[in-house]
Amino acid sequence: MSEDTIINKIKEAHQDQIESATIMRAKRLSIVVKRESFVEVAKSLRDTFGFTQPSAGGGVDYPTENRMQMIYYLMNLEHRVLLTYRVNVPRDAPKLPSLTQVWEALSFHEREAHEMFGFEFEGHPNMIPFLLPPDWRGGHPLRKDFKGEGVTA
């Protein structure tokens, strides 16, 4: 199956739930999904379409458009295709359901995204400080308006 077939099947199965599904280049797919059906589409990607290997998760900050985007990187082992699974959240209320209920290995990456951007993942089992010191008071470092040195106690 080539990338065209996979993308068309996903579009057919979840027509109103995804905002856009494109092919970035050979072996790279990109899906932007709406926030309400975030977990449901993820479960179908894992069970029906074979994206069983989680790679990572991270965020991008767009302050001019007042949104932040969370991206998850998922791998399909049968066709060796890498999918970037994206969702947009508003910048002042970045709440998302956690995807550890679908792929448990994304736990570390969600902890890091919480520290660096301020995403709040509902249902994460273990949200404790990950890379920054535990007494960090400085804000969220990877946002575009963070321009300071770190502040600790």
């Binding site: 072996k27 790679s55 990572a56 991270g58 920054l132």
Partner: protein, 371 residues
């Protein structure tokens, strides 16, 4: 410190950042007697904020902080960043430059695997002889690097569009001499490490990771190939000159610590074959395309995958019409493998004395997971 609550009859000990075998991390073990019930990894001791720094560097300067992610294997990581930039900005690379890039990547891979052997031998019963053998055997490779690029560990030799310098006179003969020397030493390492009775006793059957668990938990690199899953980026999406080189993807079926060691061994053998093939068959031509140091990008994004010695590294670059990238996301292999390490205590029975053996078979480099 905020940490999860422990059960009342277990003891929590901290295998901390200052320890001869722990590396730059703290690992908390919940133990009862000798048996380990839970492993918690406390990362972040080498966090430098590379993703934020890269937004403040031009495309040429960006290789320098990113190479310092894994010092033993800087070639593959620098190549990941450069490949993403070239894809985003549509820069074509001449063929001779791709072959030189593959040569440097394979030498870096041998360097890193020898380092991993040295640490594994030291963890499994303190064989300082084998550790010192590896430091000596890395010296011919480091001398080759120094002659070609000017530095021993971190070269800054790749740039978007090619490589900086061409191979000097007589370099191909030197590569073949080093390959023959390392092949003779290969037999010594096999006898001392893999066919050693003490090593077999300690490592056979320890920390078994079945293939379905390895895929579900996101393992990568020799950890995944030691469980029988044949997944290698050089075979799935050939980058640099790997489409023309002949090599095989090495897997093992035993899924334990010994299998991962054997996978790394065999990969060294394949890398030596590739080095010899490159030295004999490298094509002529130019070595760099025309690019300027302060080039401005365009609005694009690119996601590149390379196979480092520890696993698969993905770099996602967002560029705009400025000399700096907008956002660089680095997906490191060690962060994925550390999650697998945390779950190994629940899948198997591990004793406290086995923890250094298990962790050196996963081969983590904490500067890679903390970025």
């Amino acid at each position: 410190m905020t940490e999860p609550i422990i059960q009342p009859d277990l003891m929590r000990i901290s295998w901390g950042p200052q320890h001869p075998m722990s590396g730059q991390t703290r690992i908390l073990l919940d133990i009862d007697g000798e048996k380990v019930y839970k492993i918690i990894a406390d990362l972040g001791f080498t966090h430098r904020g590379i993703e934020k720094i890269l937004e403040n560097r031009t495309f040429f300067q960006g290789v320098i902080p990113i190479e310092r992610m894994v010092m033993a294997d800087t070639a593959n990581i620098g190549l990941g960043y450069i490949t993403a930039i070239e894809e985003a900005l549509d820069i074509q690379v001449p063929e001779r430059a791709q072959w030189i890039r593959s040569l440097i990547c394979e030498m870096g891979r041998i360097n890193s695997h020898l380092y991993a052997f040295g640490l594994q031998a030291e963890a499994t019963g303190y064989f300082p002889a084998v550790f010192l053998w590896t430091t000596t055997d890395r010296t011919p490779i480091l001398d080759l690097f120094e002659e070609l690029t000017g530095a021993r560990w971190s070269y800054n030799f790749f740039l978007p569009g090619g490589v900086y310098k061409d191979l000097p006179e007589g370099f191909q003969g030197k590569i073949i001499k080093v390959v023959h020397y390392l092949r003779r030493r290969f037999q010594d390492y096999w006898d001392a490490l893999v066919e050693n009775a003490v090593f077999e006793l300690r490592c056979n059957g320890l920390a078994v990771l079945k293939p379905e668990d390895a895929i579900r938990l996101g393992a990568t690199g020799p950890v995944l190939r030691g469980s029988g899953v044949a997944m290698d980026v050089r075979r799935d999406e050939p980058y640099a000159a790997y489409g023309d080189l002949d090599f095989q993807v090495m897997t093992e079926q035993a899924c334990d610590v010994m299998a991962r060691t054997k996978v790394r061994f065999k990969e060294i053998g394949q890398s030596l074959n590739m080095m010899e093939q490159i030295a004999n068959e490298i094509p002529g031509g130019e070595i760099r395309a025309r690019t300027t140091p302060f080039m401005r990008g365009k609005e694009a994004e690119a996601l590149s995958r390379v196979e480092t010695a520890r696993g698969e590294l993905q770099i996602h670059v967002f560029t705009e019409a400025t000399p700096n990238p907008y956002r660089v996301k680095i997906n490191s292999p060690t962060l994925r493998n550390m999650y697998v390490f945390e779950r190994l205590a629940e899948l198997n029975e591990i004793l406290m004395a086995d923890i250094p053996v298990v962790i050196s078979s996963i081969d983590p480099w904490y500067l890679d997971s903390d970025r």
